[in-house]
């Protein structure tokens, strides 16, 4: 499903060039659940942003379902993010003034979908938060907020869910709930890529990719 070929990403800070990614070659198959681990600054978030079409690589090739993503313009990338991908962030990134339901409806607004309300409620049901639909994020616990964010990622039935430290701000109980939701999604056939630095989260995946200084140093099956 995802074929990365020799991806590099260079940030220019004034005259200094910083190599965030140095030649990443990686393939992820449909239906896999993969975790990416590494120290902060290892480039794992940059990698996730490239896979998630939020950022463009400096060089290298990226095929998504056989289509060349590096040739897509901004509008096509936005459509990719809207229809094919779902993002889950460490800081939830919910709109604080909108209800849980409105937050989940957001991707449907940009896809111009019908029955926004019904589909958003279904997504909230999948993460067990239908009862909290009218609450604002400030009225929800951290775990509940993250579940709203997952519902938002799910609502357009994406093929791939990308999560950047989804349990980073949560206690272990709430974190375990979130992990089990990802496992459930994986069982339903959705491809999941999770960035984490917690080994007990990483080991729940089928496959663990370890990054150091923008390079993959190991790619192995979880035990």
């Amino acid at each position: 499903m995802i074929e990365l070929g020799n991806i590099t990403k260079i940030y220019k800070m004034g005259k200094v060039e910083i190599y965030a990614l140095r030649g990443i070659t990686l393939s992820i198959k449909r239906g896999e659940i993969v975790s990416i681990i590494g120290a902060s600054g290892s480039g794992k978030s940059t990698l996730l942003n490239v896979i998630g079409c939020l950022d463009r690589p400096t060089s290298g090739s990226y095929l998504f379902d056989g289509a060349d993503v590096s040739r897509l313009n901004d509008n096509k990338l936005a459509e990719m993010r809207n229809k094919q991908l779902g993002f889950v962030f460490q800081e939830y990134n919910l709109l604080s003034r909108a209800s849980a339901l409105s937050n989940v409806e957001l991707p449907l607004i940009y896809s111009g979908s019908r029955q926004k309300h019904k589909r958003a409620m279904e997504a909230l049901e999948r993460v067990g938060l239908a009862a909290r639909a009218k609450h604002k994020p400030t009225e929800l616990s951290g775990g509940e907020r993250q579940r709203v964010a997952i519902a938002r990622a799910l609502v357009n039935n994406p093929a791939l869910i990308l999560a950047d430290e989804p349990t980073g701000n949560l206690d272990s109980v709430a974190g375990a709930e979130i992990v089990s939701i990802f496992q459930q999604l994986h069982r339903e056939g959705i491809t999941v890529v999770v960035i984490t630095h917690e080994m007990d989260v990483a080991t729940k995946a089928q496959r663990i990719i370890r990054l150091v200084d923008g390079e993959i140093i190991s790619d192995e099956k979880a035990t």
């Binding site: 993010r81 990134n93 957001l106 991707p107 940009y110």
Partner: protein, 416 residues
Amino acid sequence: MKLIDFFVIAIRALSANKLRSSLTMLGIIIGVGAVITLMSVGRGAEASVTSTFEQMGTNVLNVVPRSPEVEGFAGLSPRFAAPTLTLDDAEALGHIRSAAAVLPVNENFVQVTADGESKTAMIHGSTPEYLEVYNHSLALGQFIVDRDVASRDRVAVLGSEVAEDLFGFDNPIEQRVKMKGQRFTVIGVLEPKGGAMMGVSLDNIVVTPITTFQTRLFPQRTASGEDAVASISIKVASADAIDGVTEDAEAILKKRHRIADDEKNDFAIVSQEQVLGFVTQVTGVFTIFLGAIASISLLVASIGIMNIMLVSVTERTREIGVRKAVGAKRRDILLQFLLEAAMLSFVGGGIGVTGGWVLSRLISRVDVGGMTIHAVVSPDIVILAISVSVFIGLASGIYPAMRAARLNPIDALHYG
């Protein structure tokens, strides 16, 4: 993305910051309100001046003395122009074929008293043609006749306002009024005409025979010692004849005043149209000037909108990042912020139009020295003001909106 969703997002964003939104709108409200009010007052002044001139009759030429030495309109001012016209001049002008009526008029202000009531009115000394040339009609009694003029009778015809103020509901006919210590008999009352000329109501008037005016009330003589006439109005039979009558009148007066062809005239012939053109030019400039002053407040308001939109974009950087991460395109973000700015200015413009309209109505009720300015809020002013305010909203919203749309999603997500 559907249009309705854009509106929902914009309304939610604006109502989330009610105080800020309403203060921003206040700028537009004041700006548009000021434009509407001032423009309509200007238009109203224009309209009332024009209608006054039209009431005085069209196809009328006015002959007045002028000072040969002084240029332009100033030469017509009584301060420079010595009296040069006489009743004989008027009589001679009456022989022009296309002149329907010739009317010598002297005017002044006079205090009129009757039964202890007193009123200052404009007094016209004139002849029987007065009614025809000035478009007046008689409500009661009779008007001055040739015999009154010939025998310098102390008779007076009162304007409706004078009659009402002095006699109330009593019939003024055959009553006495006193002017400059002399008794006059009231022989008629004019129909109310409405309108005002230079701040004086056209109904606050007394008409006497011109000869009475010249000899008993306000004697004034020309250089050659004859009784002077302040102006001679010539009613022309048809609009086509105006040029011909003007030429004939000039030739006749030049001959009578012994003015050679290369000398400057000691009189001027001014058509009603010329005066009207001059006045509307002045009031038109006045209107534009008022509008321009009001536009400055609109400009300030637009800067206010741009400022608030820039603040709003910065504040909501993360929101923009989230929207982009879930699939918002540049165009979606651009339209979202543009619509917010346009709604601010459109709603503000609407309220401003209403406020300006109310203010114009109030101004129309205020009596300024006997004259009311009927402020006219015409549709073109409203359309102009609203489209200008929406244009301002869009123009001042486009830059902040473009900044929002151009944000890189990752930078936006990690902002702050």
